[in-house]
Protein backbone atom coordinates (compact mmCIF):
# COMPACT_ATOMS: atom_id res chain seq x y z
CA UNK A 1 0.00 0.00 0.00
CA UNK A 2 1.57 3.36 -0.98
CA UNK A 3 2.02 6.00 1.75
CA UNK A 4 0.33 8.69 -0.33
CA UNK A 5 -2.27 7.88 -2.97
CA UNK A 6 -3.94 10.68 -4.93
CA UNK A 7 -6.34 10.34 -7.85
CA UNK A 8 -7.94 13.08 -9.96
CA UNK A 9 -7.34 15.82 -7.40
CA UNK A 10 -8.86 19.17 -8.41
CA UNK A 11 -9.05 22.43 -6.48
CA UNK A 12 -10.54 25.64 -7.84
CA UNK A 13 -10.56 29.16 -6.41
CA UNK A 14 -13.32 31.01 -8.21
CA UNK A 15 -12.45 30.75 -11.90
CA UNK A 16 -8.82 29.79 -11.22
CA UNK A 17 -7.86 26.11 -11.15
CA UNK A 18 -4.96 25.69 -8.73
CA UNK A 19 -4.75 21.90 -8.98
CA UNK A 20 -6.14 20.17 -12.04
CA UNK A 21 -6.77 16.42 -12.03
CA UNK A 22 -3.55 15.48 -10.25
CA UNK A 23 -2.53 11.83 -9.70
CA UNK A 24 0.28 10.95 -7.27
CA UNK A 25 1.58 7.74 -5.75
CA UNK A 26 4.33 7.91 -3.17
CA UNK A 27 5.71 4.62 -1.93
CA UNK A 28 6.85 4.00 1.61
CA UNK A 29 10.45 5.09 2.24
CA UNK A 30 10.64 7.13 -0.95
CA UNK A 31 11.87 10.71 -1.28
CA UNK A 32 9.45 12.33 -3.71
CA UNK A 33 9.79 15.81 -5.21
CA UNK A 34 7.03 18.11 -6.36
CA UNK A 35 8.55 20.64 -8.76
CA UNK A 36 7.03 23.52 -10.57
CA UNK A 37 7.25 27.27 -11.15
CA UNK A 38 5.49 29.71 -8.82
CA UNK A 39 1.74 29.20 -8.95
CA UNK A 40 2.05 25.63 -10.26
CA UNK A 41 -0.10 24.32 -7.40
CA UNK A 42 2.62 22.81 -5.17
CA UNK A 43 1.59 24.39 -1.87
CA UNK A 44 -2.11 23.92 -2.64
CA UNK A 45 -1.41 20.21 -3.18
CA UNK A 46 0.34 19.97 0.20
CA UNK A 47 -2.53 21.76 1.95
CA UNK A 48 -4.97 19.32 0.33
CA UNK A 49 -2.91 16.36 1.53
CA UNK A 50 -2.93 17.74 5.06
CA UNK A 51 -6.70 18.19 4.95
CA UNK A 52 -6.32 21.92 5.58
CA UNK A 53 -8.35 22.72 2.49
CA UNK A 54 -10.99 20.60 0.78
CA UNK A 55 -10.73 19.45 -2.82
CA UNK A 56 -13.49 20.05 -5.36
CA UNK A 57 -13.02 16.51 -6.63
CA UNK A 58 -10.65 13.57 -6.40
CA UNK A 59 -9.50 11.11 -3.75
CA UNK A 60 -6.64 11.21 -1.28
CA UNK A 61 -5.48 8.53 1.13
CA UNK A 62 -2.45 8.83 3.40
CA UNK A 63 -1.40 5.74 5.37
CA UNK A 64 -4.72 4.29 4.26
CA UNK A 65 -6.70 7.10 5.93
CA UNK A 66 -9.09 9.00 3.65
CA UNK A 67 -8.43 12.75 3.54
CA UNK A 68 -10.00 15.08 4.62
CA UNK A 69 -12.44 12.97 6.69
CA UNK A 70 -9.61 11.38 8.72
CA UNK A 71 -7.09 14.20 8.32
CA UNK A 72 -6.74 14.73 12.08
CA UNK A 73 -5.75 11.08 12.65
CA UNK A 74 -3.46 11.11 9.64
CA UNK A 75 -1.64 14.25 10.86
CA UNK A 76 -0.64 12.31 14.00
CA UNK A 77 1.93 10.56 11.77
CA UNK A 78 3.00 13.47 9.56
CA UNK A 79 5.70 16.07 10.16
CA UNK A 80 5.47 19.38 8.31
CA UNK A 81 8.13 21.97 7.46
CA UNK A 82 6.21 24.96 6.06
CA UNK A 83 7.50 27.36 3.45
CA UNK A 84 7.33 30.39 5.75
CA UNK A 85 8.85 30.08 9.22
CA UNK A 86 6.20 29.95 11.89
CA UNK A 87 8.17 29.12 15.00
CA UNK A 88 6.51 30.49 18.11
CA UNK A 89 8.32 33.79 18.86
CA UNK A 90 6.95 33.86 22.42
CA UNK A 91 9.10 30.85 23.37
CA UNK A 92 12.68 29.63 23.54
CA UNK A 93 14.05 26.85 21.33
CA UNK A 94 13.25 24.09 23.84
CA UNK A 95 9.83 25.52 24.65
CA UNK A 96 9.00 25.57 20.95
CA UNK A 97 9.59 21.82 20.75
CA UNK A 98 7.79 21.09 24.03
CA UNK A 99 4.71 23.17 23.24
CA UNK A 100 4.51 21.69 19.74
CA UNK A 101 4.78 18.17 21.16
CA UNK A 102 1.78 18.87 23.38
CA UNK A 103 -0.34 19.53 20.29
CA UNK A 104 0.25 15.84 19.49
CA UNK A 105 -0.82 14.89 23.00
CA UNK A 106 2.71 14.02 24.14
CA UNK A 107 3.34 14.11 27.88
CA UNK A 108 6.11 15.90 29.73
CA UNK A 109 8.19 12.78 30.39
CA UNK A 110 8.21 11.68 26.73
CA UNK A 111 9.08 15.20 25.62
CA UNK A 112 11.90 15.57 28.15
CA UNK A 113 13.44 12.36 26.82
CA UNK A 114 12.97 13.33 23.19
CA UNK A 115 13.94 17.00 23.01
CA UNK A 116 17.72 16.65 23.69
CA UNK A 117 18.00 14.19 20.77
CA UNK A 118 16.18 16.53 18.44
CA UNK A 119 18.34 19.48 19.52
CA UNK A 120 21.37 17.34 18.87
CA UNK A 121 20.06 16.32 15.43
CA UNK A 122 19.51 19.98 14.55
CA UNK A 123 22.86 21.01 16.11
CA UNK A 124 21.05 23.45 18.36
CA UNK A 125 21.94 22.06 21.79
CA UNK A 126 23.96 25.21 22.56
CA UNK A 127 20.87 27.33 21.77
CA UNK A 128 18.43 25.28 23.86
CA UNK A 129 17.30 28.22 25.97
CA UNK A 130 17.72 31.03 23.45
CA UNK A 131 14.77 33.04 22.17
CA UNK A 132 13.74 32.48 18.54
CA UNK A 133 14.67 36.05 17.60
CA UNK A 134 18.35 35.26 18.31
CA UNK A 135 18.54 32.42 15.75
CA UNK A 136 19.96 32.77 12.23
CA UNK A 137 17.86 31.77 9.21
CA UNK A 138 19.62 28.41 8.98
CA UNK A 139 19.10 27.71 12.69
CA UNK A 140 15.39 28.53 12.38
CA UNK A 141 15.03 26.08 9.50
CA UNK A 142 16.86 23.38 11.47
CA UNK A 143 14.60 23.99 14.44
CA UNK A 144 11.55 23.84 12.17
CA UNK A 145 12.81 20.49 10.88
CA UNK A 146 13.40 19.25 14.45
CA UNK A 147 9.89 20.43 15.36
CA UNK A 148 8.46 18.44 12.45
CA UNK A 149 10.11 15.32 13.90
CA UNK A 150 8.71 15.70 17.43
CA UNK A 151 5.95 13.12 16.81
CA UNK A 152 8.34 10.68 15.09
CA UNK A 153 6.40 10.93 11.81
CA UNK A 154 6.40 8.27 9.07
CA UNK A 155 5.81 10.93 6.44
CA UNK A 156 7.64 14.26 6.25
CA UNK A 157 6.16 17.04 4.14
CA UNK A 158 8.54 19.90 3.35
CA UNK A 159 7.48 23.00 1.42
CA UNK A 160 10.59 24.60 -0.10
CA UNK A 161 12.75 23.61 2.86
CA UNK A 162 15.91 25.48 1.80
CA UNK A 163 14.54 28.65 0.17
CA UNK A 164 16.45 31.66 1.46
CA UNK A 165 19.31 29.70 3.03
CA UNK A 166 23.02 30.15 2.32
CA UNK A 167 24.90 27.20 0.74
CA UNK A 168 26.29 25.95 4.06
CA UNK A 169 22.87 25.91 5.69
CA UNK A 170 21.36 24.30 2.59
CA UNK A 171 23.91 21.48 2.54
CA UNK A 172 23.32 20.87 6.22
CA UNK A 173 19.56 20.49 5.63
CA UNK A 174 20.18 18.18 2.66
CA UNK A 175 22.46 16.01 4.76
CA UNK A 176 19.82 15.79 7.50
CA UNK A 177 17.12 14.88 4.99
CA UNK A 178 19.27 12.12 3.50
CA UNK A 179 19.84 10.87 7.02
CA UNK A 180 16.06 10.75 7.60
CA UNK A 181 15.50 8.98 4.28
CA UNK A 182 18.02 6.34 5.37
CA UNK A 183 15.99 5.86 8.54
CA UNK A 184 13.13 4.85 6.28
CA UNK A 185 11.01 7.98 6.48
CA UNK A 186 8.86 8.84 3.48
CA UNK A 187 9.65 12.36 2.33
CA UNK A 188 7.58 14.63 0.12
CA UNK A 189 9.18 17.95 -0.73
CA UNK A 190 8.42 20.84 -3.00
CA UNK A 191 11.23 22.89 -4.41
CA UNK A 192 12.23 25.01 -7.33
CA UNK A 193 15.91 24.29 -6.80
CA UNK A 194 16.65 21.66 -9.41
CA UNK A 195 19.93 20.81 -7.73
CA UNK A 196 18.03 20.02 -4.56
CA UNK A 197 15.59 17.77 -6.39
CA UNK A 198 18.37 16.03 -8.29
CA UNK A 199 20.36 15.35 -5.14
CA UNK A 200 17.56 14.27 -2.87
CA UNK A 201 14.63 12.85 -4.78
CA UNK A 202 14.21 9.24 -5.84
CA UNK A 203 11.32 10.29 -8.03
CA UNK A 204 9.67 13.54 -8.91
CA UNK A 205 6.73 15.11 -10.62
CA UNK A 206 6.88 18.40 -12.49
CA UNK A 207 3.71 20.48 -12.17
CA UNK A 208 2.60 23.43 -14.22
CA UNK A 209 -0.76 25.15 -14.09
CA UNK A 210 -1.93 22.61 -11.51
CA UNK A 211 -1.34 19.73 -13.91
CA UNK A 212 1.34 17.07 -13.86
CA UNK A 213 3.46 17.40 -16.99
CA UNK A 214 6.27 14.89 -16.34
CA UNK A 215 7.22 12.24 -13.83
CA UNK A 216 10.13 9.91 -13.20
CA UNK A 217 13.52 9.57 -11.59
CA UNK A 218 15.81 12.59 -12.17
CA UNK A 219 18.07 10.50 -14.46
CA UNK A 220 15.17 9.21 -16.55
CA UNK A 221 13.65 12.64 -16.95
CA UNK A 222 16.97 14.08 -18.09
CA UNK A 223 17.63 11.31 -20.63
CA UNK A 224 14.04 11.35 -21.83
CA UNK A 225 13.76 15.07 -22.48
CA UNK A 226 17.28 16.46 -22.98
CA UNK A 227 20.28 15.64 -25.16
CA UNK A 228 23.17 14.56 -22.93
CA UNK A 229 25.53 17.51 -23.71
CA UNK A 230 24.79 21.18 -23.20
CA UNK A 231 26.99 24.03 -24.34
CA UNK A 232 26.07 27.49 -23.15
CA UNK A 233 27.60 30.18 -25.32
CA UNK A 234 27.61 33.08 -22.94
CA UNK A 235 28.89 36.12 -24.84
CA UNK A 236 29.77 37.39 -28.34
CA UNK A 237 27.38 34.80 -29.63
CA UNK A 238 26.82 36.75 -32.88
CA UNK A 239 30.13 35.60 -34.36
CA UNK A 240 29.25 31.94 -34.18
CA UNK A 241 25.53 32.25 -34.61
CA UNK A 242 25.76 32.39 -38.35
CA UNK A 243 27.95 29.28 -38.46
CA UNK A 244 25.55 27.49 -36.15
CA UNK A 245 22.63 28.24 -38.42
CA UNK A 246 24.48 27.07 -41.53
CA UNK A 247 25.60 23.73 -40.20
CA UNK A 248 23.95 21.37 -37.70
CA UNK A 249 26.47 21.55 -34.90
CA UNK A 250 23.82 20.74 -32.36
CA UNK A 251 20.48 18.97 -32.21
CA UNK A 252 18.58 21.83 -30.66
CA UNK A 253 19.32 25.45 -29.94
CA UNK A 254 17.66 28.04 -27.75
CA UNK A 255 18.31 31.73 -27.29
CA UNK A 256 17.86 33.47 -23.97
CA UNK A 257 19.01 37.08 -23.97
CA UNK A 258 22.75 37.09 -24.74
CA UNK A 259 23.13 33.38 -24.12
CA UNK A 260 22.76 30.54 -26.60
CA UNK A 261 21.87 27.11 -25.25
CA UNK A 262 22.98 24.27 -27.53
CA UNK A 263 21.80 20.73 -26.80
CA UNK A 264 23.51 17.80 -28.54
CA UNK A 265 24.65 14.21 -28.50
CA UNK A 266 28.16 14.86 -29.87
CA UNK A 267 29.76 18.11 -28.71
CA UNK A 268 33.20 17.75 -30.35
CA UNK A 269 32.49 19.69 -33.55
CA UNK A 270 31.02 22.68 -31.78
CA UNK A 271 33.87 22.76 -29.26
CA UNK A 272 36.37 22.86 -32.13
CA UNK A 273 34.48 25.78 -33.65
CA UNK A 274 34.38 27.63 -30.34
CA UNK A 275 38.09 27.10 -29.71
CA UNK A 276 38.89 29.09 -32.89
CA UNK A 277 37.19 32.10 -31.25
CA UNK A 278 38.99 32.64 -27.93
CA UNK A 279 36.94 35.84 -27.28
CA UNK A 280 33.83 33.69 -26.84
CA UNK A 281 33.01 32.50 -23.35
CA UNK A 282 31.27 29.15 -23.22
CA UNK A 283 30.41 26.41 -20.78
CA UNK A 284 30.23 22.72 -21.64
CA UNK A 285 28.29 20.67 -19.09
CA UNK A 286 26.11 17.55 -18.87
CA UNK A 287 22.35 18.01 -19.16
CA UNK A 288 20.59 18.47 -15.85
CA UNK A 289 17.15 18.67 -14.35
CA UNK A 290 17.01 22.42 -14.79
CA UNK A 291 17.18 21.90 -18.57
CA UNK A 292 14.21 19.54 -18.31
CA UNK A 293 12.34 22.01 -16.17
CA UNK A 294 12.96 24.94 -18.51
CA UNK A 295 12.10 22.85 -21.57
CA UNK A 296 8.80 21.77 -20.06
CA UNK A 297 7.72 24.98 -18.34
CA UNK A 298 9.30 27.59 -20.62
CA UNK A 299 11.58 30.53 -19.92
CA UNK A 300 8.98 33.18 -19.16
CA UNK A 301 8.97 34.66 -15.67
CA UNK A 302 6.23 33.44 -13.33
CA UNK A 303 5.30 36.19 -10.93
Amino acid sequence: MPTVHVRGLTKKYGGYTAVNGLDLTIERGECFGLLGPNGAGKTTTLNLLLGRITADSGHITIHNEPIPSRARQSRMHIGVVPQIDNLDPDFTVTENLAVYGRYFGMDKKTLQAKIPHLLDFAELSHKAHSPIASLSGGMKRRLTLARALINDPDLLILDEPTTGLDPQARHMIWQRLRNLAQQGKTILLTTHFMEEAERLCDRLTILDGGRHIAQGTPENLISEYIEPHVIEIISHADTVQEALHKQAYCDRMEEAGETLFCYMHTPELLIQLLEIHPEIRYLHRPANLEDVFIKLTGRELRD
Binding site: N86, L87, D88, D90, V99, Y103
Partner: protein, 256 residues
Protein backbone atom coordinates in the same frame (compact mmCIF):
# COMPACT_ATOMS: atom_id res chain seq x y z
CA UNK B 1 -23.03 27.99 9.08
CA UNK B 2 -22.01 25.01 11.19
CA UNK B 3 -21.74 24.41 14.93
CA UNK B 4 -18.34 24.19 16.66
CA UNK B 5 -16.92 20.68 16.94
CA UNK B 6 -15.25 20.68 20.33
CA UNK B 7 -12.56 18.20 21.38
CA UNK B 8 -10.14 18.00 24.30
CA UNK B 9 -7.32 19.07 22.00
CA UNK B 10 -8.17 22.67 22.87
CA UNK B 11 -6.27 22.14 26.15
CA UNK B 12 -2.73 22.44 24.68
CA UNK B 13 -3.79 25.74 23.08
CA UNK B 14 -4.99 27.04 26.45
CA UNK B 15 -1.74 25.82 28.03
CA UNK B 16 0.32 27.52 25.34
CA UNK B 17 -1.23 30.86 26.18
CA UNK B 18 -0.87 30.21 29.91
CA UNK B 19 2.86 29.52 29.43
CA UNK B 20 3.29 32.84 27.60
CA UNK B 21 1.29 34.66 30.27
CA UNK B 22 3.36 33.12 33.07
CA UNK B 23 6.47 34.81 31.69
CA UNK B 24 4.77 38.17 32.17
CA UNK B 25 2.49 37.26 35.05
CA UNK B 26 3.75 39.86 37.53
CA UNK B 27 3.42 42.97 35.34
CA UNK B 28 0.17 41.60 33.96
CA UNK B 29 -1.45 41.06 37.37
CA UNK B 30 -0.05 44.37 38.57
CA UNK B 31 -1.76 46.09 35.65
CA UNK B 32 -4.99 44.22 36.37
CA UNK B 33 -4.84 45.39 39.97
CA UNK B 34 -3.41 48.89 39.60
CA UNK B 35 -5.64 50.23 36.80
CA UNK B 36 -9.01 49.60 38.49
CA UNK B 37 -7.55 50.63 41.87
CA UNK B 38 -6.62 54.05 40.51
CA UNK B 39 -10.00 54.39 38.80
CA UNK B 40 -11.85 53.55 41.96
CA UNK B 41 -9.58 55.72 44.10
CA UNK B 42 -9.63 58.74 41.83
CA UNK B 43 -13.24 58.67 40.67
CA UNK B 44 -14.68 56.88 43.69
CA UNK B 45 -13.19 59.17 46.28
CA UNK B 46 -12.55 62.25 44.14
CA UNK B 47 -15.85 62.41 42.29
CA UNK B 48 -17.68 60.43 44.97
CA UNK B 49 -17.29 63.18 47.59
CA UNK B 50 -19.10 65.63 45.33
CA UNK B 51 -21.96 63.26 44.55
CA UNK B 52 -24.99 62.27 46.60
CA UNK B 53 -25.54 58.59 47.30
CA UNK B 54 -26.96 56.67 44.34
CA UNK B 55 -30.05 54.69 45.38
CA UNK B 56 -28.68 54.82 48.90
CA UNK B 57 -25.26 53.47 47.89
CA UNK B 58 -22.00 55.42 48.23
CA UNK B 59 -20.60 56.32 44.80
CA UNK B 60 -17.43 54.25 45.23
CA UNK B 61 -19.51 51.11 45.87
CA UNK B 62 -21.64 51.94 42.84
CA UNK B 63 -18.50 52.41 40.76
CA UNK B 64 -16.84 49.17 42.00
CA UNK B 65 -19.43 46.95 40.27
CA UNK B 66 -19.14 49.01 37.07
CA UNK B 67 -15.35 48.84 37.15
CA UNK B 68 -15.41 45.08 37.50
CA UNK B 69 -17.59 44.72 34.40
CA UNK B 70 -15.74 47.34 32.42
CA UNK B 71 -12.27 46.01 33.24
CA UNK B 72 -13.29 42.40 32.51
CA UNK B 73 -14.82 43.46 29.22
CA UNK B 74 -11.56 45.21 28.30
CA UNK B 75 -9.42 42.28 29.30
CA UNK B 76 -11.39 39.85 27.11
CA UNK B 77 -11.58 42.35 24.26
CA UNK B 78 -7.87 43.11 24.11
CA UNK B 79 -6.91 39.44 24.39
CA UNK B 80 -9.27 38.33 21.64
CA UNK B 81 -8.59 41.24 19.31
CA UNK B 82 -4.92 42.16 19.41
CA UNK B 83 -3.34 39.05 20.94
CA UNK B 84 -5.45 36.56 18.99
CA UNK B 85 -4.98 38.51 15.76
CA UNK B 86 -1.22 38.53 16.13
CA UNK B 87 -1.20 34.78 16.76
CA UNK B 88 -3.50 34.21 13.78
CA UNK B 89 -2.04 36.64 11.25
CA UNK B 90 1.30 38.10 12.28
CA UNK B 91 3.12 35.27 14.09
CA UNK B 92 1.35 32.51 12.11
CA UNK B 93 1.11 30.51 15.31
CA UNK B 94 -2.25 29.01 14.30
CA UNK B 95 -0.82 28.11 10.92
CA UNK B 96 1.85 25.98 12.60
CA UNK B 97 -0.68 24.37 14.94
CA UNK B 98 -2.97 23.39 12.04
CA UNK B 99 -0.28 20.96 10.83
CA UNK B 100 -0.76 18.92 14.02
CA UNK B 101 -3.85 16.88 15.03
CA UNK B 102 -5.34 20.10 16.44
CA UNK B 103 -8.18 21.59 14.35
CA UNK B 104 -9.25 25.19 13.85
CA UNK B 105 -12.21 24.58 16.19
CA UNK B 106 -9.80 23.40 18.90
CA UNK B 107 -7.64 26.50 18.41
CA UNK B 108 -10.55 28.93 18.63
CA UNK B 109 -12.10 27.14 21.60
CA UNK B 110 -8.63 27.19 23.22
CA UNK B 111 -8.41 30.94 22.63
CA UNK B 112 -11.98 31.39 23.89
CA UNK B 113 -11.33 29.51 27.15
CA UNK B 114 -8.00 31.26 27.63
CA UNK B 115 -9.58 34.68 27.23
CA UNK B 116 -12.23 33.67 29.80
CA UNK B 117 -9.42 32.65 32.15
CA UNK B 118 -7.74 36.02 31.71
CA UNK B 119 -11.03 37.78 32.42
CA UNK B 120 -11.38 35.80 35.61
CA UNK B 121 -7.84 36.74 36.64
CA UNK B 122 -8.75 40.34 36.00
CA UNK B 123 -11.97 39.85 38.04
CA UNK B 124 -9.96 38.40 40.91
CA UNK B 125 -7.65 41.43 40.85
CA UNK B 126 -10.63 43.80 41.11
CA UNK B 127 -12.18 41.71 43.86
CA UNK B 128 -8.91 42.13 45.73
CA UNK B 129 -9.03 45.88 45.13
CA UNK B 130 -12.61 45.97 46.46
CA UNK B 131 -11.49 44.15 49.60
CA UNK B 132 -8.29 46.19 50.04
CA UNK B 133 -10.17 49.48 49.69
CA UNK B 134 -12.82 48.21 52.10
CA UNK B 135 -15.60 48.92 49.60
CA UNK B 136 -17.50 45.74 50.45
CA UNK B 137 -17.06 42.47 52.25
CA UNK B 138 -19.71 39.84 52.05
CA UNK B 139 -19.94 36.23 50.97
CA UNK B 140 -21.75 37.06 47.71
CA UNK B 141 -18.58 38.75 46.42
CA UNK B 142 -17.20 35.31 45.57
CA UNK B 143 -19.78 35.16 42.75
CA UNK B 144 -17.98 38.03 41.06
CA UNK B 145 -15.32 35.53 39.91
CA UNK B 146 -17.64 33.30 37.83
CA UNK B 147 -19.42 36.46 36.70
CA UNK B 148 -16.08 37.78 35.42
CA UNK B 149 -15.76 34.52 33.46
CA UNK B 150 -19.23 34.95 31.98
CA UNK B 151 -18.54 38.56 30.99
CA UNK B 152 -15.26 37.32 29.52
CA UNK B 153 -17.11 34.70 27.44
CA UNK B 154 -19.58 37.30 26.17
CA UNK B 155 -16.96 39.81 25.03
CA UNK B 156 -14.54 37.16 23.78
CA UNK B 157 -17.20 35.79 21.44
CA UNK B 158 -17.90 39.27 20.10
CA UNK B 159 -14.22 40.19 19.76
CA UNK B 160 -13.33 36.94 17.95
CA UNK B 161 -15.87 37.84 15.26
CA UNK B 162 -14.05 41.16 14.78
CA UNK B 163 -10.70 39.33 14.66
CA UNK B 164 -12.11 36.95 12.04
CA UNK B 165 -13.06 39.92 9.85
CA UNK B 166 -10.02 42.12 10.48
CA UNK B 167 -7.62 42.82 7.61
CA UNK B 168 -5.19 44.53 10.05
CA UNK B 169 -4.92 46.00 13.56
CA UNK B 170 -6.40 49.37 12.51
CA UNK B 171 -9.73 47.69 11.85
CA UNK B 172 -10.21 47.26 15.61
CA UNK B 173 -10.56 51.02 16.07
CA UNK B 174 -14.05 50.77 14.52
CA UNK B 175 -15.04 48.23 17.13
CA UNK B 176 -13.71 50.38 19.96
CA UNK B 177 -15.34 53.56 18.67
CA UNK B 178 -18.67 51.99 17.73
CA UNK B 179 -19.09 49.28 20.37
CA UNK B 180 -16.74 49.31 23.35
CA UNK B 181 -16.63 53.05 24.08
CA UNK B 182 -20.43 53.56 23.76
CA UNK B 183 -21.01 50.58 26.04
CA UNK B 184 -18.58 51.92 28.60
CA UNK B 185 -20.44 55.24 28.66
CA UNK B 186 -24.06 54.14 28.20
CA UNK B 187 -24.39 50.95 30.22
CA UNK B 188 -24.19 52.27 33.74
CA UNK B 189 -20.51 51.92 34.60
CA UNK B 190 -20.15 55.49 35.91
CA UNK B 191 -23.80 56.51 36.47
CA UNK B 192 -27.18 54.74 36.40
CA UNK B 193 -28.42 54.41 32.82
CA UNK B 194 -31.85 55.54 34.10
CA UNK B 195 -30.39 59.09 33.93
CA UNK B 196 -30.17 58.82 30.12
CA UNK B 197 -32.85 60.03 27.65
CA UNK B 198 -35.48 57.33 26.94
CA UNK B 199 -34.09 56.35 23.51
CA UNK B 200 -30.59 55.83 24.84
CA UNK B 201 -32.01 53.84 27.74
CA UNK B 202 -33.63 51.43 25.26
CA UNK B 203 -30.37 51.03 23.36
CA UNK B 204 -28.46 50.60 26.58
CA UNK B 205 -30.80 47.79 27.69
CA UNK B 206 -29.89 45.74 24.61
CA UNK B 207 -26.14 46.01 25.12
CA UNK B 208 -24.44 43.14 26.92
CA UNK B 209 -22.49 45.34 29.33
CA UNK B 210 -25.80 46.52 30.89
CA UNK B 211 -26.73 42.92 31.68
CA UNK B 212 -23.31 42.34 33.23
CA UNK B 213 -23.75 45.38 35.45
CA UNK B 214 -27.28 44.30 36.47
CA UNK B 215 -25.63 41.16 37.83
CA UNK B 216 -22.53 42.72 39.39
CA UNK B 217 -24.18 45.61 41.27
CA UNK B 218 -26.42 43.53 43.58
CA UNK B 219 -23.59 41.04 44.16
CA UNK B 220 -21.29 43.83 45.45
CA UNK B 221 -24.08 44.74 47.90
CA UNK B 222 -24.44 41.10 48.97
CA UNK B 223 -27.80 40.59 47.23
CA UNK B 224 -29.08 38.05 44.71
CA UNK B 225 -29.60 39.84 41.36
CA UNK B 226 -33.15 40.07 40.06
CA UNK B 227 -33.90 38.66 36.58
CA UNK B 228 -30.84 36.52 37.15
CA UNK B 229 -31.71 34.01 34.44
CA UNK B 230 -32.35 36.62 31.75
CA UNK B 231 -29.07 38.44 32.32
CA UNK B 232 -27.06 35.22 32.39
CA UNK B 233 -28.83 34.01 29.23
CA UNK B 234 -28.12 37.26 27.34
CA UNK B 235 -24.41 37.17 28.18
CA UNK B 236 -24.19 33.46 27.32
CA UNK B 237 -25.94 33.99 23.99
CA UNK B 238 -23.65 36.86 22.96
CA UNK B 239 -20.66 34.67 23.82
CA UNK B 240 -21.79 31.44 22.15
CA UNK B 241 -23.24 33.03 19.03
CA UNK B 242 -20.03 35.04 18.72
CA UNK B 243 -17.93 31.88 19.09
CA UNK B 244 -19.99 30.04 16.51
CA UNK B 245 -19.81 32.92 14.02
CA UNK B 246 -16.09 33.37 14.62
CA UNK B 247 -15.36 29.70 13.90
CA UNK B 248 -17.26 29.86 10.62
CA UNK B 249 -15.64 33.12 9.56
CA UNK B 250 -12.10 32.12 10.52
CA UNK B 251 -12.52 28.80 8.73
CA UNK B 252 -13.43 30.70 5.59
CA UNK B 253 -10.40 32.91 6.07
CA UNK B 254 -8.05 29.95 6.44
CA UNK B 255 -9.45 28.06 3.46
CA UNK B 256 -8.82 30.86 1.01
Amino acid sequence: MRLPQPSLRFIPIWRRNLLVWRKLAIPSMLGNLADPMFYMLALGFGLGHLLPKINGIPYITFLAAGTLCYATMNSATFESLYSAFSRMQIQRTWDAILNTPVTLDDIIIGEFTWSITKSMLSGIAILMAILILGIAHNIMLIWLIPLAGLIGACFTGMALVMTALAPNYDFFMYYFSLAITPMTLLCGVFFPSSELPALLQHISALLPLSHAIELARPLVLGKIPSHLFTHVAVLTCYGLIGLCLAINLIEKRFKQ
